[in-house]
Point group: C2
Chain length 334, copies 2
């Protein structure tokens, strides 16, 4: 006869096995933070039809590519893109080595705390800031700097750590798709070397599945040791028209599902939708001023204007953060 303890361990082992081997294919298991509305139903209906063997819409696992924008789709982008917060903090750290910045815009305004003045120079000013803060280092040095920074960086509006400003329903969606043999990619205008530092830990997305904007790199032997230097020159902007290009260059096949939140994602969604067979496109709509931020057509960050019209015209799914999401962020300290 088995002891109580043995029976208990067998039960634990059995439950463990079941939990491990039962694929999450039903929404009630995989998407608990989504309200049971049209958005959730459309996700589940799509996943079920492309994974059902024998179905006319069946897609082999190798072709189950899903691409996600990052800023505003997987994590917040207000009151400012988080990578700009990094660049601004970095300017302050580097300032002692650059006495000339005291009289040179956009740095002079920035160091006086006048962000609006610093960014008055528009794209040129921003590129200058990104240039000095993202280059002149080896890839390994840069990785360490971002890692150290993001460990303590907080959102200026919510005061929460940036890595907790991710959307719980989207984390569930990523896991739900992967449990159904999808390969999940980030396709973002953000810097690829910046995002890769936290994408694996925060989203479960490995570096080789992160596509982003990039600067040029230079291979060099330093005292016989090979390094890659980040140069102050843009290699690729992974935004708007660049998104389908980045997808083609890195993945080499068309996604069957794509997720975004702004007009910068429109071409990615168009490219995804235009392939043969079943397709799924979803816009995250920032409608919740209370729990997050509310913005769309007229926002400077994450403008969603043409995309809203095209989603309506093409029947794409629009997930309203206010109505479709039970919770926005994971519990603090997760």
């Amino acid at each position: 006869m088995k002891s109580i303890r043995t029976q208990f361990l067998l039960a634990v082992a059995l439950v463990g096995t079941l939990a491990f081997t039962t694929p999450i294919t039903h929404a009630e298991d995989g998407l608990p933070s989504w309200n049971d509305g049209k958005a959730k139903q459309s996700i589940v209906a799509f996943v079920e039809k492309v994974t059902k063997e024998g179905s006319p819409d069946f897609v082999t696992p190798a072709e189950r590519i899903a691409t996600f924008d990052n800023d505003g789709t997987l994590w917040a982008e207000q009151p400012m893109y988080f990578q700009i917060l990094f660049a601004l903090d970095r300017v302050k750290v580097l300032a002692p080595q650059h006495p000339e910045w005291k009289d040179k815009e956009p740095f002079a305004s920035l160091l006086k705390g006048d962000l609006k003045g610093a960014l008055a120079g528009g794209e040129k000013a921003l590129m200058e800031i990104v240039g000095v803060t993202h280059s002149g280092l080896t890839t390994e040095e840069f990785e360490k700097i971002v890692k150290d920074w993001i460990a303590t960086a907080k959102n200026p509006a919510t005061k929460r750590p940036l890595t907790e400003m991710v959307y719980q329903p989207m984390l569930e969606l990523l896991a739900y798709l992967r449990a159904n043999d999808f390969k999940t990619f980030i396709v973002s205008g953000g810097g690829v070397e910046f995002m890769r530092v936290f994408a694996e830990q925060v989203y479960g997305i490995p570096p080789e599945q992160v596509i982003g904007s990039s600067g040029k790199l230079k291979f060099e032997l330093r005292d016989g040791k090979p390094v890659l230097i980040k140069l102050p020159a843009i290699d690729f902007i992974d935004d708007k028209d660049g998104k389908p290009v980045g997808i083609q260059q890195h993945i080499g096949r068309r996604p069957i599902a794509a997720f975004g939140n702004s007009d910068g994602d429109l071409q990615m969604l168009q490219w995804t939708a235009a392939g043969p067979g079943a397709r799924f496109c979803l816009y995250v709509h920032h409608t919740d001023a209370e729990r997050e931020f509310a913005y769309d057509r007229k926002s400077h960050i994450g403008t969603l204007d043409k995309g809203l019209d095209e989603a309506a015209a093409k029947g794409w799914t629009v997930a309203s953060m206010k109505d479709d999401w039970k919770t926005i962020f994971p519990p603090a300290g997760k």
Copy 2:
């Protein structure tokens, strides 16, 4: 009592299950076309130590990245890179639409069958040929053209289909690494859109794990339908210094094992070798004039000169095709 037929089916099912679930970790299972010499032993010793849990050299599966050059490492590159054969055939197909080519080099020589004359213009001539044959099409049109071409293209020296000019010992090595939870990538100077057409079928490497040279792409809506146009402009050359750059841009982590056959792979091997922990670098050495081709330091194609010296100095593995490989190519019609 079970019938003979039922017993037979059960036995088949059982054997099938075992074959499917037993990991290939020993060389005698996974590398039958490799002679039992130093090269094979060094591969197996490396794989065993990085996959053994609790070993000081253990590497988590996510970090088991292995990169392979293509031309001369996974398939033959003599008497000429196969992609050049494609370009030359394509010039002939396009010639009727380009009457001006009759008097214009390098096309005039080429159309007269004078390959040497055509290539006398050096890199500029070659780039012109690649430009007209690899651009002005959508990515989907190009894929179809390569697919149709490679279905019948033969090597001019051996008369074998190009997709059978792959190295059987390297196919086994790819499978052996994957059975040990390595992720295998191609990192080649060849065109990425060219290689992706056959890499999955021939090597089991999906398009998103193929890194190569690339031309610029342009996103466009044609009658409302999104297409990507291949432009006649180089985006990236994935050779020499470019290989570590391509690896960083696409994979974002350093391989722990790298395989090449020429000086064009040297920087990839240096970059791989310089990481922390256990590392493995291997050069395929073309030493078999009878069964394949013999060339190294003085060859114009696949020059292996500095690489041979560095392999000796650093203790990298050099696999001699003549001595280390029982067979070179798979059986015809595989």
